[in-house]
């Protein structure tokens, strides 16, 4: 059928051209600028490729931006802190999300689509406003502190907002659906007769879980973990609203470098290093994702 469709080339070329121009080319520009020298001009970077006066093409690879990133403690700290926050948040998402996904997959079939919709619904509502809601809950005079004091569990408010704790809460909260959905779509496909066989043979439920359910769900775990970890490393909104100003995540550093210091080459170098850092997780995700998309077809 597709072979008969007229304009096959056009149908392929239009989206491909769009994505090349507005997705691939921009990365090449970032890469180029990360090797440029910062100057006071608009745009604030020196051209990398230039025709010198005697007609010689000169290409300058300026590595100082990268050297700067790896020697200045601010950047190294921000990178390490971001990876730590993303890793711990991913683990927490898995801890909360796995039982949820399992609970939905094991629920009666009629109730499953409702439960699934309840997981997806927050995803459709404004991410920004949901993060904002946590400020109201975590503030010194916020709902949680008021409740704790009212219950006499606490005499003075617990300082929670503008701390790493609030950042973890915000990230886990925002990315939980990204963990639950791929896990559910994996767990839902499991063959229930395997579990019954294990139980018939006398295996305890926890053993059945460890020996059957968990190993079978690894692809779902990996897809969910990458879907949380990757964007969490570069997260900007959550740490800006909930985090402390003394401990910056790398996304914030990039943004400050760009908008406040107007140092485009260093900001670009930060972006390239984030990308390199995320390359392995992205490749892992692409592998599991492709298997998921093409395996069923």
């Amino acid at each position: 059928m597709a072979r008969l469709l007229p304009g096959r080339k056009v149908v392929t070329a239009v989206p491909l051209a769009w994505l090349l121009l507005f997705f691939l080319v921009p990365f090449l520009i970032v890469l180029k600028i990360s090797f440029s020298e910062g100057i006071l001009a608009m745009p604030p970077y020196a051209p990398m490729i230039e025709w010198t006066r005697d007609g010689v093409l000169s290409i300058k690879l300026h590595l100082a931006n990268y050297r700067f990133l790896f020697t200045d403690a601010l950047y190294v700290d921000a990178f390490l802190y971001s990876v730590k926050v993303a890793a711990i948040s991913t683990a927490l998402c898995l801890l909360i999300g796995y039982p949820m996904a399992l609970g939905i997959a094991r629920a009666p079939a009629a109730r499953r689509s409702l439960l699934l919709m309840l997981v997806i619904l927050p995803f459709w509502t404004s991410f920004l406003l949901r993060v904002y809601a946590w400020i109201g809950l975590l503030k010194d005079d916020g709902l949680i502190n008021n409740l704790l004091i009212w219950l006499h569990l606490m005499s003075s408010p617990l300082h929670m907002v503008n701390t790493s704790f609030a950042v973890y809460v915000g990230i886990v909260y925002s990315y939980l659906p990204f963990m639950v959905l791929p896990l559910y779509s994996n767990l839902e496909k499991h063959d229930a007769t395997l579990l019954e066989a294990a139980a018939d043979l006398g295996a305890a439920p926890w053993k059945t879980f460890l020996r059957i359910t968990w190993p079978l769900s690894i692809p779902g775990v990996m897809a969910g973990a990458m879907l949380v970890f990757i964007p969490a490393v570069g997260e900007y909104v959550i740490p800006t609203l909930l985090g402390s100003a003394n401990q910056l995540m790398i996304g914030r550093v990039l943004s400050d470098e760009f908008f406040e210091n107007r140092d485009w080459p260093v900001a670009s170098a930060v972006a390239i290093v984030i990308l390199l850092l995320l390359l392995v997780p992205i490749v892992i995700f692409q592998r599991y994702n492709r298997r998921e998309l093409e395996g069923s077809g």
Binding site: L16, I33, P99, R106, T125, L129, G136, D141, L143, V233
Partner: protein, 281 residues
């Protein structure tokens, strides 16, 4: 198998849902609170609608909301067309040169940190301005282009998933009966994948309506979208009219999602029924 209903799974589910919904519910509750201190309930004057009134009188928010609606509509429509093309090509055109590239480009935006996408698009626009003089000013056009380029990926994924589970014999039958390929696409393929188009459109609109990081990079002076305005307001502290705005947005989305999923379920049921009847004939 011993069928002792395990209690801990449902209780973990309940905990998870409480975690997901309590913040939203608290925001809704406090949007009716008379006190300016967001978290102190003023039981004498509450519930009140004064923050809703204040919201609709706030020109900055209303202008930004209208801008976001316009960008969202343009983005969703363009992304639906481009994403459907990409999804269709990936499933139906077999192996061709550039397929791997297209497949990668349609999944990359899903996982890339927004901050990198935003930076790279801004640098592209600056380079384009130097080269061809366009875009001379950053604003609605650049924000829309940026939104389209990440929304396309989501639409492509949804359309792709729909096409993978698609019965091609219907199209073959239509072709055998003498329909022209364009006719087949319009009369058979398009109606069958229309649920995917609808959810792709809605998702693209939502993504655009919600985006703050990428917009902040590619926006120019005087083109602040609603999330950008909310973000700068919220950075300065909690404000009650934002609670009212959140309540309105959450209710709209909830209604939209429920109605559209009921509609899709209904259509799906009709279609299966029609198929069954057609096969029975």
């Amino acid at each position: 198998m011993r069928r002792r209903p395990a209690l801990w799974l449902p209780s973990m589910l309940a905990f998870g849902f409480a975690f997901l919904y309590l913040p939203i519910l608290s925001m809704i509750g406090f949007s009716f609170n008379a006190s300016r201190l967001v978290t102190v309930w003023d039981s004498v004057h509450s519930p009140t609608l004064k923050w809703y009134v204040a919201l609709f009188q706030n020109r900055q928010i209303m202008d930004a909301a209208w801008l976001s609606v316009r960008i969202g509509l343009m983005n969703a429509s363009a992304a639906m067309v481009l994403g459907t093309m990409a999804g269709f090509v990936l499933v139906r055109f077999g192996r061709f040169r550039g397929r791997g590239l297209l497949a990668t480009l349609t999944t990359a935006p899903l996982v890339l940190p927004e901050i990198i996408t935003g930076l790279s698009l801004l640098l592209l626009f600056v380079a384009m301005e130097q080269l061809i003089g366009w875009p001379a000013r950053r604003g609605v056009a650049t924000i829309t282009i940026a939104h389209i380029s990440f929304s396309v990926a989501y639409v492509a994924i949804i359309v792709r998933a729909r096409l993978v589970g698609f019965d091609e014999s219907l199209e073959e039958a239509a072709l055998d009966l003498g329909a022209r390929p364009a006719q087949v696409f319009r009369r058979i393929t398009l109606p069958l994948i229309s649920p995917a188009l609808l959810s792709g459109w809605l998702l693209s609109f939502t993504l655009s309506w919600d985006d703050v990081v990428i917009s902040q990079f590619v926006a120019g002076p005087g083109s602040s979208t609603l999330p950008m305005v909310i973000f700068s307001k919220v950075r300065l502290g909690v404000s009650p009219d934002v609670n009212a705005l959140a309540t309105l947005m959450v209710s709209l989305v909830a209604i939209g999602v429920v109605v559209s999923s009921l509609f899709l379920q209904h259509r799906e049921r009709l279609r299966t029924q029609e198929m069954r009847m057609a096969l029975a004939d």
